[in-house]
Amino acid sequence: MLNVPDETVNPVEPFLRSDRMPHIWCPGCGIGTTVNSFVRALIESKVDLESLALVSGIGCTGRVAGYMRLDSFHTTHGRAIPFATGLKLANPKLNVVVYSGDGDLSAIGGNHLIHAARRNIDLKVICVNNLIYAMTGGQSAPTTPSHATTSTNPYGTFEPAFNLPHLVDAAGAVYIARWTTFHVRQLARSISEAFQKKGFSFIEVISPCPTLYQRRNKMGDGLDTMKYYKEKSKVKNGAPTGEVGLTLNGEIAVGKFVDRDRPDYQSMMRWQYVEALGERYIEEPEMECVCG
């Protein structure tokens, strides 16, 4: 507990459900670090917290929703994005953030990821990529680099990994960035930028899983991994997303890869209906029909 005899407050604290601290993440896990950047971005972009909704899936990163003092939804595995889509369509005034892990978003949730990007649903997706299914004990994920050791590939993986920025780029995302948990300020800035955009934003954050991924691959602890990120990262803003794939020991391309504009889903929907129906189109339903 905080036994500080002074009046300063951690800037992150008001955003946390302090009554649920300490959290369950391991020593050296980077998820908490990403939360700091997220909160910084909320503060700097002056996002209205009352109209912010946070949606997570299942997994270690999925637990973020439960620790944040916001309207937050811990949904089913892989389905944070469609839930978020429903939230946003029912109440377009909401700012909806999806905060989930690589397995949740790109494996079981992969279909929803690409369709939301295709539709350009106005969502800000923060994908914490620790290259593994951490919560369940370190199984291979679609993002696990080839030849890494995991619990379901005990002799090393032999599948190529997804290049997530490339995947969502092809699907149509309008803002794509990747940072690591070392890049705390750059990550906060990217998240802030995403809040200024309308459409599907995807921010990948490479993060340590010292207990499982790093340990099984003899890559040290969380701090070793942070130093590794510092050494191996190369800022390549605007790089073609096809070239930013990750390998077991190779360079980690970071930066803002895509920042483009195209109409978001709700804008396109509105235009189409206005075109087809003119004045007959009713955009906002009467909400009294729900609550009376």
């Binding site: 500080v4 951690n10 992150v12 300490p22 908490g32 670090t33 700091n36």
Partner: protein
């Protein structure tokens, strides 16, 4: 001996949770006042070492004290070097530490006499 050191260290951790005391002490010694100060939530710390490593002015080190979970929380070893940049807070995955600018730094006055 170990017990004593432990006891002393913990005692000093609890007190030097803000280097307020440090500030007062250094003031009394006529040393430089740090522009920032660090607050540590001892019980949340898991001794990952991020704050120690990434503090740009090497204000922190892991202490020899233990919190109730058995981790060594950091402590401030160079309070005068703290700029209040809060990079420690940005890096900490456990929300166990944060930096802030001292009121003096904020108002750019070098006065003493805090609590």
């Amino acid at each position: 001996m170990f017990c004593d050191a432990h006891h002393t260290a913990v005692h000093s951790i609890r007190r030097i949770i803000t280097p307020y005391l440090g500030v007062v002490i250094t003031l009394q010694l006529g040393a430089l006042v740090g522009k920032g100060r660090v607050s540590i939530v001892v019980e949340r710390c898991k001794a990952c070492g991020f704050c120690v490593e990434f503090c740009p002015t090497h204000v922190l080190a892991l202490s020899s004290a233990f919190n109730s979970k058995g981790y060594h929380p950091p402590h401030v070893v160079h309070p005068e070097k703290c700029s209040g940049c809060d990079l420690c807070g940005m890096y900490c995955p456990d929300f166990a530490i944060y930096g802030s600018k001292t009121p003096e730094a904020k108002t750019q006055k070098a006065s003493g006499g805090e609590k």
